[in-house]
Each structure stands twice: as C-alpha cells, then as structure tokens.
C-alpha cells in the first residue's frame, strides 16, 4: 500500500476519493493500523537523525518517542501540501532542538561536578536499556565518533545539510526540498559546513590525519 493510500486512512483533512475499492472506508482499527505502518516506515530516519543530533543515546531515543507522539497527535492536520517526510522533518527539528537544549543543560550540570541530574534523567527513562545497548554497539567506531561530534557543533542549517546529505544519503535536490530551501542554498550550507569542519580539524591535525587514514 502506498503512503498516499495510508495517509488517506489517517488524515481527515485529505480529500478522500469516493471509490470504495481503491480507498475502502476506514474504521478506527484500520486507521490505527495505517498510522502504525506509517510510523514504522519513518522510524528509521527519525531515529538516525535524533541519534546524530543528540550525543546522549538515551535522550536521543526519548526524542524519537516524543517525535512519534507528536506525529500521531497532529497527523490529522496534515493537509498533503508537502510530502509526509518533509512535514515530519519540521516536527523532528523542533523536538530535537528541545532535547539538545535539555542535553546542554544536563551537560553543564555534569561539568559543574554533579552528575546526579544526568543519572536521574537517564534512570527515569523507559529507554535506558536500549540506550545502554546502543552505546555499546552503535557509534562505537572512533572515526564516526570524532566526525559526528564535530558535525554536532555546526550551526543548525549547516548541521542539517550535512546530516541529510551525507548521513541520510539524500541527493542535493531531495535534501533541499526536505529542508525547505533551494538547491543552491543547500550547497552553500554544505560548503560552509565542510569549510568550518576543515578549520576545526586544522586545529588538531593529528586527529584529522587519523580520520582520513581510517576513512580511505
């Protein structure tokens, strides 16, 4: 079943064709099933973006949950003027921003000597087991850790451009559409991001040499 068909079950604001064979009348169960399928299809990229944007894996997975809940709560207002992924990306950006601020706050408290808040924050989450598992496996390679940590320090537009193009493997046109900017603006973001990364790497050439050596 295509995404449009699934959406026609879920989003009331979309005009639903009257053909009962192509678009059977949805009841609550079928609409829930359609929404579940949509969330499953989009779970991967949402989780990747959250894990790339947020250093703490537990917070990142919490962020995924928050995104999915927000999508489920507001899917009825999706009007089909854009692709679902583009619409969801706005929710992802907003939610990630909130969680990054929370993470920075926790990190500051951690740096000031008290890590109780961070531990409390982690233990209170349903996803703590997943996060521990992830930290042992995902992002374990050092070369990824170094580069991703540098990418996380980039300004927002540049960071999103890098994540979408390199880590989500989207073409320039697709990524630009998802970000809501022109292709030329997107290329500018990418160029500036690489320039800034290069500048940072120049300040620690040994790590850069190691990085390039590993990635070749």
């Amino acid at each position: 079943m295509t995404e449009d068909q699934l959406l026609s079950f879920v989003a009331h604001s979309l005009v639903r064709p009257a053909d009962p064979e192509t678009y059977p009348q949805p009841n609550e169960r079928s609409r829930k099933a359609a929404l579940e399928e949509l969330l499953r299809r989009h779970y991967d990229w949402v989780t990747r973006v959250c894990l790339l944007e947020i250093s703490d894996a537990a917070l990142a997975l919490d962020c995924v949950q928050e995104v999915m809940v927000q999508v489920a709560k507001s899917i009825d207002r999706f009007d089909g003027r854009s692709e679902l992924k583009t619409w969801m990306y706005v929710i992802v950006k907003r939610t990630v921003g909130k969680f990054r601020r929370r993470e920075n706050l926790l990190r500051k408290r951690f740096q000031t000597g008290s890590n109780e808040d961070l531990e409390k924050e982690r233990q209170g989450k349903l996803t703590v087991k997943d996060a521990q598992d992830l930290e042992q496996g995902l992002l374990s390679s050092e070369k990824n850790r170094v580069l991703i940590e540098l990418v996380r320090q980039l300004p927002r537009a540049q960071r999103h451009a890098v994540l979408l193009h390199y880590f989500e493997d989207l073409k320039v046109e697709d990524a630009a559409r998802q970000m809501g900017c022109s292709a030329s603006s997107f290329k500018t973001h990418l160029f500036r991001a690489r320039k800034k990364l290069a500048k940072w790497i120049e300040q620690c050439p040994d790590e850069y040499e190691a990085l390039i050596k590993e990635t070749k």
Partner: protein, 188 residues
Amino acid sequence: MKRDEESMDRELDAALKRSGEDFRSEFDDALGSRLERHRNRVIGEALSRLSDKKQWIPHFEFPVFSMTPLRWAAVGAMVVVGLILVRGADHGTDRDRRALELVFSLPYLSDYSRELALRMGEEGGGALLTYAQFSEDLEAVFAEGMLTEVGWEEESSLRIDYQAIVFDFSDTYEMEEEDHEYDDNIEA
C-alpha cells in the same frame, strides 16, 4: 604540511560520505536487534496517546455523497434555522402569543390545552391557534369526554373560563359571525 583548501574539501567530503555509510550500516545492524524493541514501544506509545486523546473523528459515507461531521452539523443547523423561520412566520404573531398565554394561564384548561399546544406543534404549519380553530379544538376535547374526571361542576367552571377566553378574544380581535352565534349558544 598545510593542505590546500580544495584537496582538503575533497578529502573531507569523502570522509563524511564514508562516515555516513558506516553509520547507516551500524544502524541497520542495531535495528535488527537492539532497536527493534524500542521501535515497537515507541509506536505503541504513540498509538495509545492517540486513542486516549480520541483523535478519531467519525466520517460518514453515503452512496450519493459524503460529508464530514462538521458539514453535517452545518447542514443540520441550516435546516433547524429554516424550520424556525417557517414556523415563526405562522406562530410568531402577537395574536398567537396572546392565545398561548391565555391557554396556559387558565388552571383547569392547562392540562389539555397544553396537549392541544403539543398537537399544534406536531401538526405544524400554525393550524391551531387562530381563534376559531382554538374553540373548535376545545369543543372537541369536551365532546371526547376528556374531562370526565373533573366532574360537571368543574366542567361548567371550565366552560365559564372558556367563555372568558372567548370574550377576551372578542375584545382583542374582530370575531366572525359564527363565533358570536356559538357564544350565544353557550350563554343560553
């Protein structure tokens, strides 16, 4: 040795691409094992929030046309307003209001006059509460023996009250000839 900007940009581009590939590969591995549980829980949580919030809005489909509840409500409101306007044209006059006031102000007449008013509402079209029809219906009530429980004294009192209504109406409205004759019969 300091690299020139162009070659550094190319190398960084390649490093980022490679990093992205590695990340996706690691993520796919994690998805098959560690993230599967998280995915199920996250989606379950999202769906449960949805049902708690009662997001689903019933959508009625009919063979000929389809309308959302909001449109059904709008159409219903228009129909109600239309009915009010139509009925108001027949019942909204001062005379009808006065008749209703009289009917409901009389203690003995109140029960069946309310019934008459209800019947008027069911029949619609403002058929009842003109003076002549009111008297006819009242007589019909007497004739059908609906007042057997109240006895003759009360009925006579009712007739006097009814006569009072008639005179009250006659003061207010120009009565027709047959109504005068009818009143004379009652007095006789």
